[in-house]
Structures are given as structure tokens and as C-alpha cells.
Symmetry: C2
Subunit: 69 residues, 2 copies
């Protein structure tokens, strides 16, 4: 499972630390997420997507090629 967190974070001019604070998670969580090290909880995925004003399926990519048909 891939995600666009790093890309979106940079486009919004946020550091990992800032994003972590806004999401109320640790910086490690952001790092691990950006590195694709795990499958977040739905609530965290939702908070991230909401922060970037996007749908969950547009931030997290589950399958190659298509996810939002």
C-alpha cells in the first residue's frame, strides 16, 4: 500500500514535526507512514486525508493502476 503523504506534506509546506503535531501523533509515526512501513488505523488515515482536504482513496493507493473509478 502506497501513499502520497510526503508529497502532500511538502506541497503544503509542512515539516514532519509540524504535520505530526497537527495530527496529534508522533514524528515517528509520520516517518513510518511516509516510508510505507505500515497500514495506519482508519481514523488516522481519515485525519490525514482531511488535513489535505482529500478523500482517503486519493491519499492512500491500494492497488496499482486504479483506485478511484
Amino acid at each position: 500500500m502506497q501513499n502520497r503523504i510526503k508529497d502532500l506534506r511538502q506541497k503544503h509546506d509542512l515539516t514532519q514535526d509540524e504535520l505530526a503535531e497537527r495530527l496529534e501523533v508522533s514524528r515517528q509515526t509520520i516517518i513510518s507512514l511516509e516510508k510505507g512501513r505500515y497500514n495506519p488505523s482508519l481514523i488516522l488515515a481519515y485525519k490525514i486525508s482531511k488535513m489535505f482536504e482529500m478523500q482517503i482513496e486519493d491519499v492512500f493507493i491500494f492497488e496499482e493502476g486504479n483506485n478511484n473509478g
Copy 2:
């Protein structure tokens, strides 16, 4: 966090057992989910939504009143 799993499952004429098998999780997981006992992983939330051909935000309701627009 609320969700429409029970409603959707019944509309698709599935038992908890059948849904659990299709999702490759235990029946307990379905029961707990339907009862709102926890916050699933993103991947499970995705699989559930996909099974009902819906967006995650249309199956899981995060805030009262509005979630999609």
C-alpha cells in the same frame, strides 16, 4: 466513529459469517466492527468498502451530520 456495515451487509443478504469469510477476517471482527467497538485498520476498511462498491467515507461516518462534500 459509526459505520454502515450491518446495514450494507443485510442489504447484500450476507450473514456475519459469510462477510467474514469474504473479507478473510474472523466473525468476531465483523461483530465488533458492527457494534462500533473499534477503529479498523485502513486496509480492512478499504476491503469492506470495496466489497460493497463504495468509498470508505460512505461506509464509515466520522463526524455527525456531514462527511462527504
